[in-house]
Symmetry: C2
């Protein structure tokens, strides 16, 4: 797919908005990926949405590999269900919506209240278990502060998967598999996540694991080994700064990190609330054992922006970049340039690459600044100089210098 910059909604800016405090908000706004509507509430502009969709599709692929079946649950959740789980008055960031017609709804910050009753439609016998359902959907949280750009939103995208099992043992098998899948999917997006054991969160959670990406923008503190993958959440850590790592004896350090995902063993708490039971091999009724597995999708856009950036702007990993190539056209009015550009685009289109072509009437310096700011992995320059040489200049976003190459070799 070829997009022309001159016709695209990419409002790049020289300056970050004055009220922006986080690096991801500054960069993503300046580069034209997002537009803040309210604190913690963003519009995804075409570039930001392309990144989000790539992240979602990577997650989707990995959830399918776990056997997850995709569904889409609503944001309006029945008050009655939240009363059933005793969370209507105890879930601190719950948005409540009052209808003019006398109803009340929870504006979903999570979906146990929907998915557990829904699971009754299938979980009847032990033969129906295990199975897992997931969605990629919009969540709402009435956060007191929302100052970290896409890291902590009042409205945000999330993937939540729920798994249903006969026994704790069967849950554990799935839970360990999910851990490995999470690490793999973060890696596919260019993120190195550490798994930390964390407190269970609110009273409904038995225990949980968090997937932490080291970043100065992180709101969590973790105690992490300087060498190996050992890490603990500072809130419940048994090690302290300066200790030797129990795994490899290197030094433990305190680091800031972003929680990119979390997984919970919910045990039978919600199954008991909603009487989600199955009949076991001996004909006896048992509560279904449930696990819950979350990943913030729009938060990942922010996390990757924080982690993959330099002084000049964003540096997207290829797997989530909005485009594969950023073509800068100079001297566009020259015949030779036009014909080289045409040849280049025909080649890239044949190779099924996604290309952003900067065909704006702007000076060269501005175009190079915007290319660095937007951070597409490869920049290709087409100009009177390259047209004369018969080659184009290609530069990786993370390299200092480009090199001349034949179009057919790209």
């Amino acid at each position: 797919m070829i997009s022309r910059f001159s016709h695209s909604f990419i409002p790049t800016k020289r300056e970050a908005p004055k009220d922006a405090t986080s690096l991801n908000q500054k960069l993503l706004t300046r580069a034209g990926f997002v537009h803040q509507e309210l604190a913690g509430v963003y519009t995804m502009l075409p570039l930001g949405l392309r990144v989000l969709r790539k992240i979602e599709n990577i997650i989707r692929k990995h959830m399918e590999s776990l056997g997850g079946q995709e569904i889409l649950m609503p944001a309006l959740e029945p008050k009655a269900n939240w009363l059933t789980t005793s969370r209507w008055n105890n879930f601190d960031v719950l948005f409540k919506v009052k209808s003019q017609h006398g109803y009340e709804y929870a504006l979903g910050p999570t979906h146990e209240e929907i998915v557990i009753p829904l699971a009754k439609e299938r979980a009847k016998s032990y033969k129906d278990l295990p199975f897992s359902l997931y969605q990629i959907q919009t969540k709402f949280r009435d956060e007191p502060r929302a100052k970290s750009g896409l890291m902590r939103g009042r409205e945000f995208g999330m993937k939540d998967l729920y798994s249903f099992h006969e026994s704790k043992e069967d849950l554990n098998i799935f839970y360990e598999k999910a851990k490995q899948v999470y690490i793999a999917l973060f890696k596919e997006m260019g993120l190195d996540a550490k798994i930390t054991e964390a407190s269970g969160g609110d009273f409904t959670k038995k225990f949980s694991h968090e997937f932490m990406v080291l970043s100065d923008a992180g709101e969590d503190n973790i105690l992490a080994c300087s060498t190996c993958s050992f890490a603990q959440n500072a809130e419940i850590a048994k090690v302290k700064v300066g200790d030797s790592c129990p795994n490899c004896h290197a030094k433990i350090e305190e680091k800031k990190a972003v929680e990119a995902g979390n997984i919970f063993d919910l045990s039978t708490k919600f199954s008991e609330d909603f009487e989600l039971t199955y009949v076991d091999k001996n004909g006896k009724k048992q509560f279904v054992v449930v696990g819950c597995y979350g990943i913030g999708t729009s938060r990942l856009v922010g996390t990757i922006a924080e982690v993959c950036a330099d002084a000049n702007g964003l540096v997207w990993p290829e797997s989530v970049s909005p485009y594969d190539y950023h073509v800068v056209v100079l001297d566009a009015e020259e015949k030779l340039v036009a014909s080289q550009l045409e040849k280049l685009l025909a080649h890239l289109e044949k190779e099924k690459k996604d290309v952003l072509v900067d065909d704006r009437e702007e000076r060269a310096g501005m175009k190079f600044i915007d290319a660095d700011l937007i951070g597409i992995p490869y920049r290709i320059v087409v100009s009177s100089k390259t047209a004369a040489s018969g080659k184009v200049e290609i530069k990786s976003r993370s390299d200092e210098k480009g090199r001349l190459t034949d179009i057919k070799d790209i």
Copy 2:
């Protein structure tokens, strides 16, 4: 993609829920496509979500052909913007959300209040116009009644496109193009839509056109020619039942219809509210002329279910069917059957077809009933009989009888 029914979340039912009043709710629930959470609030189960995604992708393709750029706006909209347009107290189905932290939001039933200020990021000079932005996103409406299944939801999927122009003349060119694109995309989904001129709706709308699909489940009445495509909304119709059609002189009849889409000329109403201006060729400031183009995506799932059904269940058009083939396996324990099934699935997978394989331990009659209910366009039977013949039985959902065929000819 091959899905096994035995492992899939497809809760088919013999009976419709007692409170279901509309055909689409009855059929989609019985066939395991949707699950009602509240009146007008549904979960899309795997089959329903597959249909929704196909509808969305057809719409997306046509929006791109119009030059639309996809974005994603939030559901939480600032109260201040709704006060600016005087709709905070005048939009009858507006859900209002109160934060514990003192904020108030509109839970977006439409997005003029977000997209018009956003358009200021680009619409500066006449050179920046025209352009158009669209999203496929979840909308909320505090409907007094929500009894028509997916036809009138309190929460529902929608595509909304907004176009921005220099002049009324330029809007008109786009508006007429959009009309043709709408008719084409409905046709691609198997729907024959009539365009009716309608009242502008609330006070902000200048005039509008509705795209009406004839269906007894429709909540609108239109006066339509029995022969040609002429139609008018009953509310503002100039013709009456029994009149001759002004186009072709056939008889005018009153019909029930579902509004599948609508388009509005918003003129400069919202541009004036938010001072969305551009500088024209003469250096003069002008208000941007705006058009708005909606399609209910989840409503289309319901509309197609109503229109494409018979006494035995759903009959999906190929373009939006959750799968291409529904394979019914009988006598699965027989070796010959297993090997024929394997050969069939290898062939369909090579052809990149999406296949639902009914491998459940159910009796044949039940499997055939479910196949008709679910309504995938082609059913293929693999049994001891077909295995012995070396051919499989294929039947179109709308045909009475199947025929034997070689696997390679499918």
